[in-house]
């Protein structure tokens, strides 16, 4: 009995996923637990394992296709079993289409056989057939105007483009597809052919001096979130610094304890700062909030977001109920979510800006002395933790000495908090850090 392979649902907010790579081919024998394909959400990538044994009878979506969650992606069953009932949208099999005349193929291609979700961030809508054609012909489909339903690019558009585009020399073709270039306004080759030298990236000023790289989904998401944050809030930053002697001494002691096996975690300065922040938030709950325009969410618990730098871009996972955790527990959770982000297997739910009530972004390790972190909306504030630098301080009796001071940069949304409140809150963080006890 043939069974479909579904696009899994990764979290409540995820509606489509993009297939990254197929590890099995149509016709391959698969066992339960074999990795079939990888797929990506906006935030992370995952691998899907086979849940049934048999032959991979059909693959409906290929690499790069955006697939609605819970849609049939493939079929596993015994050799010869029919697969058509599982085909998304119930269209004709692709093989049949290939043998038909071009006209018929076009008609079929026009049917919305593959439901590509209309996503708001301007993903190019193109049918898999059209995409394949475009890739073979070396046509940049990003520039095509789709004539299919909802402006989707279909095979016909690619064929027309191929006919009307200037003929490229074989070198020009290879170079265009390799370096993602397009034919410029003028062609200089034999009979109007486009020579390799006529290729250009879109900007005529810089000519071919750069290549156009598509943004990854995560980059697009970051871009959107950052821009939205600056557009939709009234954010400003206060800077202050905290005497770091206590926290450094604590860290030193805890490190020894860890090496001696007395504590389970290698507690970092950041863990200690987070502990101080949680304590401060408990005293100033107006900073542990979401600003919603006409109302605010005042959270009873602290769900602490931590900015994590990964190869794929910035991620801000949350530690839920952080105020319930011991220092060791907090440290364990912070390092776990950071690791999951870097490995790409973080639960997408934890990446939602709504998941955290307040965020800490620590650039101290990189030597940053002061910065203006950007609020992760709808949160009302974010703390930037800076590097520790020695500063002169009155040690009493008019004696001055150099003391290690940790920079703290609090960005807050003036819509939600006033300067006085924010300053008091930042002071509280400073005092928590200066007087931290476990």
């Amino acid at each position: 009995m043939a069974v479909p392979v579904l696009m899994p649902r990764q979290g409540q907010s995820v509606e489509t996923c993009i297939i990254g790579e197929w590890y099995k081919k149509k016709g391959d024998q698969v066992k339960v637990g074999d990795i079939l394909f990888s797929y990506e959400t906006d935030k992370a990538s995952f691998e899907e394992e086979a849940k049934a044994e048999g032959i991979l009878l059909e693959i409906f979506y290929t690499e790069g296709d955006e697939v609605p969650v819970l849609e049939n992606v493939a079929v596993i069953g015994a050799a010869g079993e029919p697969v058509e009932e599982f085909r998304p949208g119930g269209s004709k099999p692709v093989e049949e289409v290939k043998t038909e005349t071009v006209v018929v193929a076009e008609v079929v291609a026009e049917k919305p056989t593959v439901a590509i979700r209309e996503s708001s961030d301007e993903a190019v809508k193109i049918s898999p057939r059209a995409k394949k054609q475009a890739e073979t012909k070396g046509i940049d489909y990003n520039q095509l105007q789709g004539s299919g339903p909802g402006g989707r690019i279909i095979e016909r558009d690619v064929v027309t483009a191929a006919e009307t585009m200037p003929v490229m020399t074989s070198l020009a073709k290879a170079k265009a597809s390799d370096e993602k270039l397009n034919v410029g306004a003028e062609t200089s080759g034999l009979g109007g052919r486009a020579l390799a030298g006529d290729l250009t990236s879109n900007n005529q000023v810089y000519s071919t001096d750069f290549e156009v790289k598509k943004l990854t989904n995560i980059r697009k998401l970051i871009a959107k979130a950052m821009h939205a944050s600056l557009q939709n809030s009234a954010q400003l930053t206060h800077h202050m610094s905290a005497d770091a002697r206590t926290i450094m001494a604590l860290r030193k002691k805890l490190k020894k304890d860890f090496e001696a096996g007395k504590v389970s975690q290698n507690i970092t300065i950041n863990d200690l700062v987070c502990l101080a922040v949680i304590r401060a938030l408990k005293k100033y709950p107006q900073a542990n909030t979401h600003f919603l325009g006409d109302s605010m969410r005042w959270f009873k618990k602290v769900h602490l977001g931590l900015a994590v730098d990964t190869e794929r871009g910035l991620m801000v996972p949350a530690v839920k109920n952080a105020d319930d955790l011991s220092l060791e527990g907090l440290s364990a959770q912070l390092s776990a979510i950071a690791a999951q982000c870097r490995q790409g297997n973080i639960n997408p739910e934890l990446l939602s800006p709504e998941a955290a009530t307040f965020t800490v972004s620590n650039l101290g390790n990189y030597g940053v002395e002061m910065f203006t972190p950007v609020i992760n909306l709808p949160q009302t504030a974010i703390l930037g933790v800076c590097t520790i630098v020695p500063r002169p301080k009155d040690l009493g009796d008019g004696i001055y000495g150099f003391v290690p001071m940790m920079g703290l940069s609090l960005t807050y949304d003036h819509q939600a908090l006033d300067g006085g409140e924010a300053t008091l809150f930042l002071r509280e963080i400073k005092e928590q850090i200066e007087n931290l006890t476990i």
């Binding site: 020399t169 074989s170 070198l171 290879a174 170079k175 200089s188 080759g189 034999l190 390799a196």
Partner: protein, 452 residues
């Protein structure tokens, strides 16, 4: 109402007469001026007469080598005046052919020195023999002549250029050639075959500048075997009648020839044609043109040697065509990447595109393959005891054919195929799919390309 020509052409060489032909065929009214003879340097004192002479040398070579092919011939001799007469006949025939073409194109031919007088609005005035001609467009293609450098003691009446040497009545016993470029080398080959003692004095370290280095070396080695003396890196410091003094490695040497040929380069004919009367931008090196062969003045075009670069008849013709197409509003433009260069020595040299040296100079990463001509069966069959090679230069990343250079046999006849490969930017793997006729010498290109 005065007649206004669609196009006036100054110069009846390969740029001018081809432009006249193309323009006439498209229904434009044409007036073409030449002060000497239709066909220009190419036909009258360049390409055609020299190729005619070199063919006589080739026939002589066959006769001498007939034995190798199992053919017995009687006593072999040369009749210099007959050779020269045949050359004159060939030139006359082709010149009259151009006359016929001009008639066919309904072009008015004015055999007189013409001077550009003025440009008023869209009207360009040209004067020749006291008569004025008006035209809407002007194509300047007055060509070039042998450059005469300021060598102390140089007496023009004592030396020959390409023009005078073609009018020799007597075969000289010895010939000193100053300048080992294409012209010098071809004359060296011909007169050497005729039995003249040849000495070539070249200022640069190698003869045939611009030709692939390996090929130049190969040909020089071949010529040295035949008894031609080469003085490379030698600068002529003085001329005294037919006595040539040159300096080489700091030492001064003297050599006297029965005749002395000066072939050190060409000089664009920019003087005395009235360029300044309409403000055409030019330097002593030539008239500046753009890719459509336009000068800085609207409706004024230039083509051929007068531009000062790519001094080749076929470049000139193509430039003439591009200019006419631009006048006609047809999309066309010059491309200089795939212009073939040919030297009609025995062995012949033919090349197109980048050379190893020019690729290096431009910093283009290339891969190079080279094969002896013996890889082509027909070459072996027809060239007893002869040699040659083919060199192909391709881009490193994409394998596009950037240059093809050959020496040996009649490689000039197949270089156009290599031009098409370069012009079309075909890659090694594309060319590998082309069917070459077997057995032909041209297969050497395919063989070399399969070396990649």
């Amino acid at each position: 109402m005065e007649n206004i020509f669609d196009i006036a052409i100054l110069g009846g060489g390969p740029a001018g007469y081809v432009a006249a032909e193309r323009a006439g065929a498209k229904g434009l009214s044409v007036v073409i001026f030449d002060k000497r003879a239709l066909g220009g340097v190419c036909l009258n004192e360049g390409c055609i007469p020299t190729k005619t002479l070199l063919n006589s040398a080739k026939v002589l070579e066959y006769a001498h080598e007939a034995e190798k092919y199992g053919i017995t011939v009687g006593e072999v001799g040369i009749d210099f005046s007959k050779i020269m007469k045949r050359k004159d006949k060939v030139v006359r025939k082709l010149v009259s052919g151009i006359g016929a073409k001009m008639k066919h194109a309904k072009a008015e031919v004015v055999m007189a020195e013409a001077v550009i007088k003025e440009k008023r609005g869209s009207e360009i005035t040209i004067e020749a023999e006291g008569k004025t001609y008006k035209a809407a467009n002007l194509l300047i293609c007055t060509g070039s002549e042998a450059a005469i450098p300021p060598i102390p003691g140089l007496d023009k009446s004592q030396i020959l250029t390409n023009r005078e040497i073609l009018q020799l009545k007597e075969l000289p016993k010895s010939l000193v050639i100053i300048g080992g470029g294409v012209i010098g080398t071809e004359f060296a080959d011909f007169f050497n075959a005729m039995g003249t003692k040849i000495t070539v004095i070249e200022m640069l370290p190698e003869i045939l500048t611009g030709i692939d280095d390996d090929i130049a070396k190969f040909v020089r080695a071949e010529f040295t075997k035949r008894g031609i003396d080469f003085h490379l890196g030698a600068k002529v410091t003085k001329l005294n009648g037919k006595e040539v003094t040159f300096e080489k490695d700091g030492k001064e040497e003297k050599i006297t020839g029965e005749q002395v040929l000066l072939s050190v380069g060409r000089k664009a004919n920019v003087a005395g044609i009235g360029l300044e009367n309409i403000g055409v931008e030019f330097t002593p090196r030539g008239v500046k043109i753009d890719k459509n062969c336009r000068t800085n003045i609207p409706n004024v075009y230039a083509a051929g040697d007068i531009t000062g670069f790519s001094l080749l008849a076929h470049t000139a013709s193509r430039e003439g065509e591009v200019a006419v197409n631009h006048i006609l509003g047809r999309k066309d433009q010059m491309r200089y990447d795939a212009i073939p260069g040919v030297v009609y020595t025995h062995p012949e040299i033919a090349g197109v595109g980048l050379t190893e040296a020019s690729a290096k100079e431009k910093g283009i990463e290339v891969e190079i393959r080279k094969l002896p001509m013996a890889y082509a069966g027909r070459f072996v069959a027809e060239n007893e005891g002869k040699d040659g090679f083919c060199k192909v230069i391709a881009g490193k990343k994409y394998g596009e054919i950037l240059g093809v250079h050959m020496v040996g046999g009649a490689c000039s006849e197949m270089i156009w195929g290599a031009c098409a490969l370069v012009e079309m930017q075909l890659r090694v793997k594309d060319v590998q799919e082309i069917v070459f006729p077997h057995p032909t010498v041209s297969e050497i290109i395919k063989e070399t390309i399969f070396e990649f």
